[in-house]
């Protein structure tokens, strides 16, 4: 199974080498990959139908509980078939759709990576590897949406999609980590056993919120839905594959998968019902304000995703069954409608539904596919859509409360969705062919066969639901721990309330179709409302954030060194003062200190004098000389306190520094007081408080006992191990010899730098200034 998952990634690497041929002769070669995978996964058909679960396990980062465990159960099986099956048709379609595109190989590469990621996502039993594949789908989606990278709108949409789903990915990671900690396992199938533990944990709400965030962003739920219509900038095969049939269902998949872990909880159910309900209605109504075919489909997809989330929120057996069937139903008809749209777009050059008409004369097979998909979409009997819609109504009708509200919500949504289906699948083909389309050529077979296959499947399953009942649908329910043995998918239920609702939906959709014509007026009406849409609100927030960070940068990263120093020191002072004020004893044990002698006091007085002289000197030479005096005073202190080596080094270095300074001094400008009085006072206070803190700190440390272990080691071993009597020297050249060598290299580099700066020849403009 691992090879099957990674095949897409391996293939995309292979494309680097064989890309040129794929663009010319071997256009159909990439389609063999999903076909092969489809056949591979289809082999498991009997096993899954018999209720088996196929598992494979590879250790990966076991110490973190992150492993490559794959689990093929009913739910995963449906998705793998959708991914590879629709994948194959999309690959085939692409070979004609992007026939002369210069980057066809690149496109196939992204598409293959996406397919691999999506397969990994649905097969992962480890929530960490699920996260990994989840992110990979977002990234490949980014490249696919932005495939037409010369268009700014495309790039922007790609960034939006990546941003929104990327945030979702982070939420998923957070949720997964907490879930893993609470359940003490990262394996989803083991979490199911910990359901009670997780539900009683105080972190449950947090986990649920993170998982919701991930699922809602990925599956385009309100208010994160707007990236999906934007993603329609991608070439149509991408919209078909990623943004209707598979990737956007990943959020739904996650919710479905975690239902046995987190479900059956008021918070879980109400939140999902609320968000799903709002999304399905909001997006369904939006479809009447669009006249771009893909725009209409985008909103009807969002609405369908809303229905799925809503059904998972209902959480009853009937609702989950409805969701399981609807995933398949939606994938079949929506992918068809997208492919139909793509073919229309490619042939006529427009997707404006208000001008398209009469195309059945030119592209009869496409028209048939469109009709069949519209049938399934509207839930007309004999299509699988009818079964799906029936199940949705059964799900809402059997609820303990709010039956009327929720059912009417579902009916209204479905009316709009079926309207959208008629608009895309029927309207472009009926009526009189406008003159401008008369010269349109009939599309080639690869552009109409895939939608026809998908649409026919919808009808075949509709007539013979037993085909999918045991093999696909029942195992899905078993995989979320529901007994599915008494389920029967039926075409005819008899005269029940459900049938009445179905009829209402169909009639309502038809009425809307005949009464409402998509016009520019409706489009511009909805554009006016854009101001308050979630997208504009988030855009405003982003621009506010940009303003804020601009201000923040200007204030703190202002390019003045002294401001950086002040800020750092200020913060350090506050932090240190806070700590020191809390537990400082302020008891100074003078008895432990050595006694004062006259010459020490004299040295200190000289030093203090030199310090003040350095600060306030009016001439640069005087300041440099005074700083030299400070150095010599310290040198004397080293002499007093048993550090002859230090004294010698300090003396030599100090002398050299002063000489160097004096040598370059005469070249420099006048020594001026550049800052004003206030500024100097402020800096003075800051510097003094920091200095004061250092003094207090030093005294505090002096009050603590000293640890002499290291010194003792050197004192005892300097002669015995290293045969040197000056312990400081032995430490430097023997025990820490490597350090010293590196230090010497630093000096050598500095020397080279100095030499280079001195010898550097001025170039053109510099010489002129000279």
């Amino acid at each position: 199974m691992l090879i099957a998952i990674l095949a897409g990634i391996l293939f995309s690497i292979l494309l680097l080498f064989i890309g040129k041929w794929v663009k010319t002769k071997l256009q159909l070669l990439p389609a063999l990959l999903p076909l092969g995978l489809f056949i591979y996964f289809a082999q498991f058909f009997p096993a899954i139908a018999a209720g088996e679960v196929i598992e494979q396990h590879y250790n990966w980062v076991s110490s973190f509980g992150v492993n490559l465990s794959f689990r093929l159960d009913g739910l995963a099986f449906l998705f793998t078939l959708l991914i590879t099956g629709i994948g194959f048709l999309v690959f085939l379609y692409t070979s004609a759709y992007l026939k002369n595109n210069d980057y066809l190989d690149r496109f196939y590469g992204y598409l293959s990576i996406f397919m691999a990621a999506m397969l990994g996502l649905v097969l992962s039993d480890n929530i960490m590897s699920l996260f990994l594949f989840w992110e990979l789908t977002s990234i490949s989606s980014f490249f696919l949406i932005g495939f037409n990278n010369k268009s700014e709108a495309s790039r922007k949409s790609a960034l939006w999609a990546l941003g929104i789903t990327g945030i979702g990915g982070l939420l998923l990671l957070a949720g997964a980590v907490i879930l893993g900690i609470v359940a003490d396992t990262y394996t989803i199938s083991e979490m199911v056993n910990q359901k009670a533990l997780i539900a009683s944990s105080p972190l449950y709400i947090l986990i649920a919120i993170f998982i919701f965030g991930a699922a809602f962003t990925k599956s385009a739920q309100f208010p994160f839905h707007f990236w999906l219509p934007g993603a329609m900038k991608a070439p149509t095969p991408v919209s078909t594959y990623l943004h209707s049939a598979t990737m956007v269902k990943a959020g739904v998949y996650l919710l479905f998968r975690l239902t046995p872990v987190l479900g059956d909880n008021t918070f879980w159910n109400t939140t999902l019902m609320l968000f799903g309900g709002i999304t399905m209605l909001y997006a369904a109504i939006h479809t009447i304000f669009r006249k771009d075919l893909k725009g209409i489909l985008a909103y009807s997809t969002i609405s369908a995703l809303g229905i799925l989330v809503f059904l998972i929120g209902l959480g009853t057996k009937e609702a989950l069954l409805a969701a399981a069937v609807f995933i398949l139903v939606h994938a079949l008809y929506k992918a068809t409608l997208f492919l139909v749209t793509g073919t229309i777009d490619l042939s006529t050059g427009t997707r404006d539904v208000s001008v398209l008409a009469g195309l059945k004369k030119i592209m009869l097979p496409v028209a048939i596919a469109g009709f069949l998909a519209a049938l399934s979409n509207a839930g007309i009997p004999s299509s699988i859509g009818f079964i799906g819609k029936d199940l949705i109504y059964e799900g809402t009708l059997q609820l303990p409360n709010n039956v009327v509200l929720l059912t009417s919500l579902a009916v209204i949504t479905n009316i709009f969705i079926s309207y959208a289906g008629y608009l895309v699948g029927v309207k472009p083909f009926l009526g009189k062919l406008p003159e401008r389309f008369e010269m349109t050529k009939t599309p080639e077979i690869r552009l109409w066969l895939p939608p026809v296959i998908l649409a026919s499947l919808g009808i075949v399953f509709g007539f013979v639901p037993s085909l999918i009942q045991d093999s696909l649908i029942k195992p899905i329910l078993s995989s979320v721990a529901i007994d599915a043995s008494d389920i029967h998918l039926k075409i005819w239920h008899g005269f029940t309330p459900v049938l009445a609702l179905s009829v209402t939906t169909i009639v309502g959709g038809l009425l809307l179709y005949f009464l409402l014509k998509p016009t520019d007026k409706l489009v511009s009406f909805s554009n006016k409302l854009e101001v308050v849409s979630p997208k504009s609100i988030i855009e405003k927030l982003i621009s506010l954030f940009e303003t804020f960070s601009g201000w923040w940068t200007r204030v703190f990263q202002n390019g003045y060194l002294r401001n950086y120093v002040s800020v750092i020191i200020f913060v350090a002072v506050i932090l240190m003062a806070y700590r020191l004020l809390q537990d400082t004893s302020y008891v100074i044990d003078y008895s432990s200190f050595s006694k004062l002698t006259v010459y020490e006091v004299v040295v200190l007085v000289i030093m203090v004098g030199a310090i003040f002289f350095t600060i306030f000197a009016k001439s640069r030479l005087a300041a440099v000389a005074a700083s030299g005096v400070i150095g010599y005073a310290i040198c004397l202190l080293f002499v007093f306190y048993s550090a002859p080596d230090l004294a010698m080094t300090q003396f030599a270095i100090d002398t050299l520094t002063v000489i160097l300074f004096v040598l370059v001094l005469y070249r420099l400008p006048k020594y001026l007081v550049l800052s004003d009085y206030k500024q100097r006072i402020r800096d003075g206070i800051l510097a003094c408080s920091f200095g004061g803190l250092i003094s207090v700190l030093a005294l505090e440390v002096l009050a603590q006992p000293v640890n002499e272990e290291i010194s003792k080691f050197y004192a005892e071993n300097a002669y015995i191990l290293a045969h040197g009597k000056n312990v400081v020297n032995v430490i430097l050249v023997d025990f820490r010899g490597t350090d010293t060598m590196v230090e010497i290299s630093v000096l050598a580099i500095a020397a080279i730098g100095v030499f280079a700066l001195l010898k550097l020849r001025l170039r053109g403009h510099e010489r002129e200034q000279k």
């Binding site: 002859p644 803190l693 002096l702």
Partner: protein, 117 residues
Amino acid sequence: MEFLLAIITGLLYAAGLYMMMRRSLVKLILGLIIIGNGANLLIFLLGRITKGSPPIIGEHEKLLSDIYADPVPQALILTAIVISFGLQSFAIILVKRAYKVVKTDDLDKMKATDEEV
């Protein structure tokens, strides 16, 4: 004595910082030198100071005994002094060089990266 040394270490820090917050490049380097001295003195002081017994093993002995000044801080400071000299010399030459090009040692006038300063 330790008390006075602690005070003077603080004073060195304060003076160094004050100089670093000035606008002149030369003052900045002086500030760096002073604060470096302060840091050396702080390390020295915190390693405890001992009078008249340098960490040198006597003529006929094999190890340090009795009271001796801690050799570890001394080794650290020695390194620090030498390294800071590398930094200072480079900085001083850099100032000279920078002045040649931009004709100022005012840090505020060196902010722009363009050639017209």
